[in-house]
Amino acid sequence: MMSTFMGFGRSDGSVGIRNHVLIMAVDECCDGIARAIADSIDNGIVVTNYNTCMYGGNEEMINTMIHTGNNPNVAGVLVLAMGCGSIDPEIVAAPIRVSGRPAFSLVCMKQQGTRATINQGKELAQQLQQAANAAPRVETPISELIIGVKCGGSDTSSGIASNPSVGRAVDKLVDMGATAIAGELIELVGCETILRQRAVSVEVADKLERLIHQEEARWHVDGAEVETMSIGNSVGGLTTLEEKSFGALSKTGTRPIQGVLQINHLVHEKPTTPGFYLSEATHLCGSAGMHFAALGAHLILWTTGGAGFNNPIVPVIRVSGNQYLLNEDIDIDASGIMRAEEGVESVAERIVAKVGSVAQGQQTNIEEVGYSYCSLYQKDQRLETVLRFKPGC
């Protein structure tokens, strides 16, 4: 594979593989305004807060919006507010400007209404597009890439074909000097002992065990059980919860865990050295895409039985080993492993090559065709309080 890509240089020193302009709506009431503005440019993407328009209780989500604006694939941002809620768009725009990116804000109530806001917004979006077009092209080593790793729509083939192949590809990419980040801590319940052995320090081991325990407490509330393992899973061949967890774990490869990146209203931790990381990126697919964007990922490797989410900011490479569900949406066909025709190593090499070509600018099979909603998950601060979880503890 090619060892460099021609990326888009950003003022903060990062280099993107895509060159997007974000139109962010801090309240759902200006979502339509945001979409009208985004439609007027080529590379516009809408991110809308569909939670309440209050700031109190939404701080973690606002933090995710800010860090999404600072993703390497983002060239500039326009932040919109209706004006009757309590989220000042500058809360989002100002920290993005600190990164050197152009970031404007508009308040509909101060702009003489919806049409005037759209017209003004279109002018600003044009400026952002011009700034994006002027981004310097920078030859960048593949080792600078940050890659999110996620599974979804899993079935029997996932644990045998797509997850081990992606895990092997993650090892290869990490060995090349790249950074990979997995999340879905709820899927790692039962894997704590193995994960501790992979942690680079006792501090990292303790932190990952604590964060997995907290995530388990959030989702397994007595009397309000959330399904973890179905009869269908067992009929399909999964005997125990840990077997299911270890199947999911195999997509993370085997390299040392450098850290566990926390996401809350105070911090949005980023990788500090190359290597493999765990994170608090959620297991919920659409929101995981946005968490990976906010963690600074350039692209996502996604394992599946079939189909799945497609984030507009961070290109998603889909890997499936289920020959009955394969269609043109799947970028990497791993079904040869299930037919005993191809080995994991060979599929992993194809995945690494695909990462290189997508970084070079080649589109994934459904890039710009149909995107998932840019969902913004946050932990419910009321539940955090009831469970007595405090950020950083």
Partner: protein, 111 residues
């Protein structure tokens, strides 16, 4: 020949890539597609389920993809299905009535 995949050389089970019936000879392959063993199925084992590669003793760990995925609650001879009827979680057991339902739905045979 029908195949099952051993995900790590240390594993004592392999995952069936097709449905097998009692008496079927199964080629055990590595993740890089090398045939490493041939095992005779002692009972029907469906696609995605696990066949024991060695005689597994009561209380011995079941290892898949190098990870301990459960513990044997009786002796599991080479060639038998390793599943909910003879393996338990070390973390969170499936309730007994659900195990009965799984055994019924899968029509797990006595080996």
């Amino acid at each position: 020949m029908k195949k099952a995949i051993q995900l790590d050389p240390s594993d004592n089970v392999a995952t069936l890539l097709v449905d097998a019936v009692k008496g079927d000879e199964i080629e055990i392959i590595s993740t890089n597609n090398q045939v490493i063993d041939v095992v005779t199925c002692l009972q029907a084992i469906t696609f995605g389920n696990k066949v024991a590669l060695t005689d597994i003793a009561d209380q011995q760990l079941i290892t898949k993809a190098s990870y301990p995925v459960g513990v044997a609650i009786m002796t599991i001879p080479r060639g038998e299905l390793a599943h909910v009827q003879n393996v338990r979680s070390q973390r969170l057991d499936i309730p007994d009535n659900i195990i009965e339902e799984i055994i019924k739905q899968m029509r797990i045979e006595q080996a």
